[in-house]
Amino acid sequence: MFKRKNKRKLEKFDLIANALVIFFALLSLFPLFWLITSSFKNSAAVVKMPPDWIPKTFNYGNYIDVFSNQPAFRWAINSIIVSLVSTVALVIVSSLAAYAFSKLEFKGRNLIFIIFISSLMIPKEVMIVPLYRVVQDLGMVNSLNGMIWPNVATAFGVFLLKGFFDSIPDSLRESARMDGASELRTFFKIMLPIVKPGIGALFILFFVQVWNDYLWQLVIGQEEHVKTLNVGIATLMQDLNPNFAYKMAGATVAAIPMLVIFIVFQRYFTSGITIGAEKG
């Protein structure tokens, strides 16, 4: 910005720094390039050194193997269900709560909010033993329900959305109430449409977070039919099959949905991720 204005040449320092940044950026993409090209090789080509940087023949067989030897399709469906239901549930309960913390007055509001926010920094994994027992008592081990509902406990949604509600002037709510709209109607008809960008950011960030939440899904889903994609694909690693191309095809299957989401929703990531920092 200020460079362009001064019409000055890039300083040498800046030039070298940017060359390095580009170099490392390409390096950071390299593992994915390697993943995808390897997945199309046959079992001999994948371990051939020096390697074929671009596979000589495109071999789709590894993908067919992944889907026929493993219930990979089932895993993918499970991942979608777990991520989607968790996210929709969190959006609903946390937008209601964030609205209340922002706009409604009730006893203990600030205290409850402080407790909520304090929990944000505690990884739920540290409580995995008692949490597992809770889920066990509810009869939800080896079920998608057991993977879904504990996700909705997080204060992340309240934290992210409260700022959006804060920025809506109180007068808007008061005039709606004066016109005789109920609190719930005011919330759904007037408030929710205004905080749509916040909900969009929460949706996409939390969806990805749940999709990639490996440990909890590993612990709860031990049977083949309830495994999620990441957990299932990770078991391929321990598979005795020495064909690396096959394993890389599995990993590609797990990677593709997130790559697509990132490319389509890039804007939301940038805005969503930075909200936390701005508030912090």
Binding site: P31, L104, I117, M121, L215, V219, M237, I261, G280
Partner: protein, 291 residues
Amino acid sequence: MKVNPYALKRNITGYLFIAPQLFFFIVFLVYPIFEGIRLSLFKISYQETTFVGLDNYKALFSDPVFVKSTINTVIFVVAIVALTVIFAIFVSSAIFDKNAKYVSFIRGSYYIPVMVSMVVMSMIWSFLLNPANGLIPYVMRELEMPAVNFLGNKDLVLPVIIFVTFATNVGQAIILYIASMIGVPRELFEAAEIDGASRKDVIFKILIPLVKPTTLYIIIINIIAVLKIFVVIQLLTGGGPNNASTTLMYFLYNNAFKYNQLGIASAVGVIMFVIALFLAIPQLRSMLKKE
């Protein structure tokens, strides 16, 4: 005391709005914390549960694997957080004032590994590092460097895990820094330029001090994230060789779900909970101050 019916109704409305979120919060978060503290005081087996007081904690501190796990976790936290902050500042300060398309390309390149998840990235790295047919050992052989087994050597395994975790997750810090640096008022740079400041001066004397709140935020979220480091350990090394790369989370997982030592595992959880809470205090304080 007189009850104001209007205030009562207002309170009830507020509670009804937070009730669903509060329900999940209590059942799956608050209750497990207290239950975890309680379980950590018991010896738990299939048949019976016996109160043992602080014995689980005493057993932990005399268990060399637990001590090793703690030391490794501390090393990971310090090294990964330091690398992440330094590298992310380097990348962001180099590109934040450039063409928007360029910024978005660089940001995307570093963020894609974050999206693709630690599971997939661990699988790729395990393939790249595989001593028999991985690309990296091959390149090293070609360069006539001594043959090393990255994941089987107890002195190399920690640096390798640090690098893999850092390389996979640094994209998030870069996104945060770029946003924060773009937000710095441009006049500050222009004034400095007029005074003849070099770009290096601008970065070190203006930019880095001004993005300090972002740095604090990045440090905290990364500490918390590395504290629970698990996937990369399970998929790359299994804690080996000979427990050289075990971590607190991996130790907790094994005790809970492999050795069925639920009391011990709960005690590890409580210790990690206390560490997380303690580390989070500065961040919480600044977040609450803004409210």
